[in-house]
Amino acid sequence: MKSHKLTSSLKGLHKWVLIAVVLSIPFVVTNLYYLHLINLIGIYSLVVIGLNILSGYTGQVSMGQAGFFAVGTYTSALLMMKLQAPFWVATVMAAIVAAIFGVVIAIPALRLTGPYLVMATVGFGEIIRLVLVNWVPVTKGAAGLTGIPAPSFFGFTVFSERSFFYLIYAVVALGILVAVRISRSKIGRTFMAIREDELAAESMGVPTNIYKVAAFAIGAAYAGVAGSIFGSFSGVASPDGFTFDDSVGFLCMSVIGGNRSIFGALIGSITLTLLSELLRFMQSYRLIVYGAILLLTAIFMPQGLSGLGPILREFLSRRKRDKKSYDDVQCSQRKGR
């Protein structure tokens, strides 16, 4: 009993240590370039969490996630620039508008599976980008929006990389918390059931259409929030940042990190963002290496990097078990004697 209490308080301690470590990052990482990357990773991981809920949990592969990201960025930026809306209002609106777009694309997508669904989402992403390019009076066309205001709360403006770090990771923490709650709730369970066997789920009383639309809405809302922060973070937004390649990049993060886990999103965005930056020393060969790493990861780690977690855990526990069974053997031998 006592030891149980101890371990649970230790577990609690774990959490606090983690929080402390995260909070201290901006003071340890004084190089603002790295902090900038860390901030970008946070934004990307929000997008990828949404994608994981949509693709990993519900099984609807989307190659148009950059479209939702763009909708979020532009909605929030335009609200702040044209209507002087406060940042948090703009962010909530970005989430809502992106979710509405999610529903709009989900409805024709309901009847689609596999490559047909992929095509529809690719098409959606491209349509969004082309509208951003061509709807010049509102979106300023291909040059994009400049001078997107920095977020400010109660007169305190989030401007530096460091303050952005706290803003972004507060939202990421919140996003992870909500995503974990959803994924461990009835909703998440139902999403997975649809992924595993849509027909069986339907037969057990699950209104699969509603849940599929909901998954799109949630996935889009995450991208929307991320987009809103991204706009303020970079100060500029142009269609060049929301291309098919970007959608593909998000999908790669999702799969490489492990799309069936919320933390996989974090792992994926960290890995691919760092990888593409770290390979810079190779100059023009770096994308070749990057492609090769994508290829090899897809081949050798079918569950993504987060799939390594259980393997590691199993490895550790097997060692424990081996030790235990060894003890058992000793025991029984002794008994036998």
């Binding site: 918390l177 909500v178 709650r181 959803i182 709730s185 009835k186 909703i187 369970r189 139902t190 997975m192 059931a193 595993e196 066997d197 027909l199 069986a200 789920a201 339907e202 037969s203 057990m204 009383g205 699950v206 209104p207 699969t208 069936r260």
Partner: protein, 264 residues
């Protein structure tokens, strides 16, 4: 609903796939609180019948009445809250989910989805989740798989997977359970267990319709048996009667009457 009134009634159900007639003018009525068997050789249209009843397939003609209401074009998922649940011939579990989660999906229509509470992690969501888990555990206990509840469904043996499917159907708290070949692939002791479970269900007031090939099981558990062959109903009655019905023996065992298939 009076005792004598059927819980499920099929009136002149026909179903065609392209040129093939899978079901032809099937009439069927199931008395509440009984175990009703459906037998027939492979390809006789048994699974099609189940799919029509649960709404996965729409019949070309005919009407299905369940507890006094015509089911019409009600989609499959809305038939579950009316009191219908099923299992599948080739197990359709959610394989990458654990056993308990599989059973929890069965309860989908009986638990609310407190979206806001889930997002904010407040009490109602956790309370509902705990309640649902209690019910799921009870269902698993009924099939004797409580100890396996945190294993992935794909890691169970064939027979155990069948039982999980059974528990999942039970979790939907149905009035009528449709079991599609529950005993297939089970070993003798598992079958005995299944037999016992089905009888218990009947005693608890459930109505069961089952497709099965294992005659021993059927004979021991069924109150009524309907025999299908080539999409038509060829016999119906108490097991003993059906067992000795010449048409049934001919159809089911493959005796082609007088016409012998040629001699070699």
């Amino acid at each position: 609903m009076g005792q004598g009134e059927p819980i499920l009634e099929l009136k002149g159900i026909s179903k065609r796939f392209g040129g093939l007639t899978a079901l032809e003018g099937i009439n069927l009525s199931v008395t509440p609180g009984t175990v009703h068997g459906v037998i027939g050789p492979n390809g006789a249209g048994k699974s099609t019948l189940f799919n029509v009843i649960t709404g996965l397939l729409r019949p070309n003609s005919g009407e299905i009445v369940f507890r006094g209401n015509s089911l019409g074009r009600i989609p499959p998922h809305r038939r579950v809250p009316l009191g219908l649940a099923r299992t599948f011939q080739n197990i359709r579990l959610f394989k990458d989910m654990n056993v308990e989660d599989n059973v929890l999906i069965g309860q989908h229509v009986h638990t609310p989805t407190p979206v806001l509470s889930i997002i904010f992690g407040t009490q109602p969501a956790t309370e509902w989740e705990d309640k649902a888990k209690e019910v799921a555990d009870a269902c698993l206990r009924k099939v004797g798989l409580e100890s396996k509840k945190s294993e992935l469904a794909r890691n169970l043996s064939y027979g155990q997977q069948k039982l999980v499917e059974f528990a999942r159907a039970l979790a939907a708290q149905p009035e009528l359970i449709l079991l599609d070949e529950p005993a297939a692939g089970m070993n003798v002791s598992e079958k005995a267990e299944l037999l016992h479970m089905i009888s218990t269900l009947r005693d608890e007031g459930y109505t069961v319709v089952l497709i099965e090939h294992d005659m021993k099981l059927l004979m021991n558990v069924c109150d009524t048996i309907t025999v299908l062959n080539h999409g038509k109903k060829i016999a119906e009655g108490v097991p003993r009667m059906v067992r000795n019905h010449p048409d049934v023996i001919a159809a089911y065992l493959g005796k082609g009457g007088d016409v012998r298939a040629g001699t070699c």
